[in-house]
Subunit: 352 residues, 2 copies
Amino acid sequence: MKLASLKEGRDGRLVVVSKDLSRAVDAAEIAATMQAALDRWEDAAPRLERLAEALENGAVESFAFRPEDCAAPLPRAYQWLDGSAYVNHVELVRKARGATMPESFWSDPLMYQGGSDSFLGPCDPILLADESWGLDLEAEVAVVTDDVAQGVDPRDAGDRIRLAMLVNDVTLRALVQNELAKGFGFMQSKPSSSFSPVAVTLGELGERWKETKLHLPLLSYVNGELLGRPDAGVDMAFDFARLIAHAARTRSLSAGTIIGSGTVSNRAPDCSPGRPVSEGGIGYSCLAERNAVEKLLHGAVRSGFLKFGDRIRVEMRDDDGRSIFGAIEQTVAPAPETCHENQPACVQRARK
Amino acid sequence: MKLASLKEGRDGRLVVVSKDLSRAVDAAEIAATMQAALDRWEDAAPRLERLAEALENGAVESFAFRPEDCAAPLPRAYQWLDGSAYVNHVELVRKARGATMPESFWSDPLMYQGGSDSFLGPCDPILLADESWGLDLEAEVAVVTDDVAQGVDPRDAGDRIRLAMLVNDVTLRALVQNELAKGFGFMQSKPSSSFSPVAVTLGELGERWKETKLHLPLLSYVNGELLGRPDAGVDMAFDFARLIAHAARTRSLSAGTIIGSGTVSNRAPDCSPGRPVSEGGIGYSCLAERNAVEKLLHGAVRSGFLKFGDRIRVEMRDDDGRSIFGAIEQTVAPAPETCHENQPACVQRARK
């Protein structure tokens, strides 16, 4: 089944969405919010599945589903941990800023604790105070877990996954270097991430979900042009089960924990960094990689990062070309000078 | 007023606690949980204040308040950001592991994004799978904010503080070095933190809350012996307003965000690292500092880190010697081998 949170209050209103993303039905009688459903998944999931079936059969009253009405599936979450499972990406981005990558990165997963108190909806603008901060997208796959026990075995960790979705892990490249040099990880350089309109159960992914990886191309566009279409199932050095076990090594994880794959990235067949789409390659899921490859191929960065007014789009299509999660579609906009109280209010103001 | 969350479900049950911490009254009619109160503070706070007044006057039915019935004031939170405002601590701990500290640390606050999905209650044991991980306490002051606008001015940021409390930022020292070397910050080396039984409004702190710092000694004990009593208002290089503004530079913060001070630490009057309590000094709020000073004074670490069965206590007393927040009182216990589903369940099992 497919689930979404329509914008309403701080936690949204849970709806079940049809497989073709055209219709939705209110799920409030089962669980008012996505987090409430995850808090008691064993009870809520079968009831939500029945509602989804009724929706497909036209056996329940429904309304038109519009991604622009959506908050992130979890508008705010208790935990957002982002891995860097495509080690190819890490190596390239480091190379671009003149840093080397330790060999251990191929065996010991990189993961950071991200801010999760106010995610952006799929169509919310990215409000940026300063263009010189080097705004970049990072297109990724993410899963949502149930409760996970401390010290969970990687062989059991995959069973704790409840939902999958897409994420744009918004990154301010110009702030990364100074922040990472301080040793305490990302904070200012990773403002609020945005998520796909719907989160789906693994059953919706069919045979494309295999060995806790999602085996489909992830499509990223900037201003309507394809930036990349790397396969999320290829070159993922650590599968989601491994990432969850890494996160839970010294502590339990609570239901609603979001685990990101890291920027999806594939090597070229000859193991060199993949070429840009414009040169016949499969391209990238972030601009930092494109810039890095431009520098390696041409000696200089040609394209740079996102500017005010730029549009991004992130999506994944099934074997029949149908959008699975709906698209993340965002515009970069200047942060209003008088940004009051909380992000949703600011977002509303900026969109008017 | 003083607020606490009694253990119940995932988010606890909000109660108002008497100033002397002896009695409590249910606040469910105003807000079912602490987060619910913070989500609409302007409406909830005056009503909670009236209930607190009725409790002090004996005008409302109350029950005995027991810290051991408490979850953390926010049993799970949407954000936990921990600063390192006592730069003295950072310098000492780095020195102990042979690392130097950049001069910029005195002007650019260090802060990391911590896990906030399952905090420990004040009397919950710390469940440790492996003694060799080097378990340490870090006694700190923390504040809880309302919504904070992106780019907030440090001069306005202090007005967004709603509550103050104490925190034990549990740290696994043996895992820190490898994790920080990876550049993505703490994760495995910082399992769930624990918090004081009650969180208090700034009005409860009177003149001791000044310039967004709390000017009182923070008392830490290990196995009944005083480890340290540094003043939280002294040597705090960045006040809470500054820490909040740092956190909100590139993104808004949502209500219920917890901001930690970092390990409270004072220099000796001659600016050398403070001496242990046993040698007439004011001591420390973590064992890493004690170990570092032992190494500097005696050439070797004598005491080490926490072992199974060790007891810690963290508390702060007002000018009349009365506990303000109640005490964090925890025992170190081996993590059960079959730790199921979620932390609260494991904790229950471990305590039986």
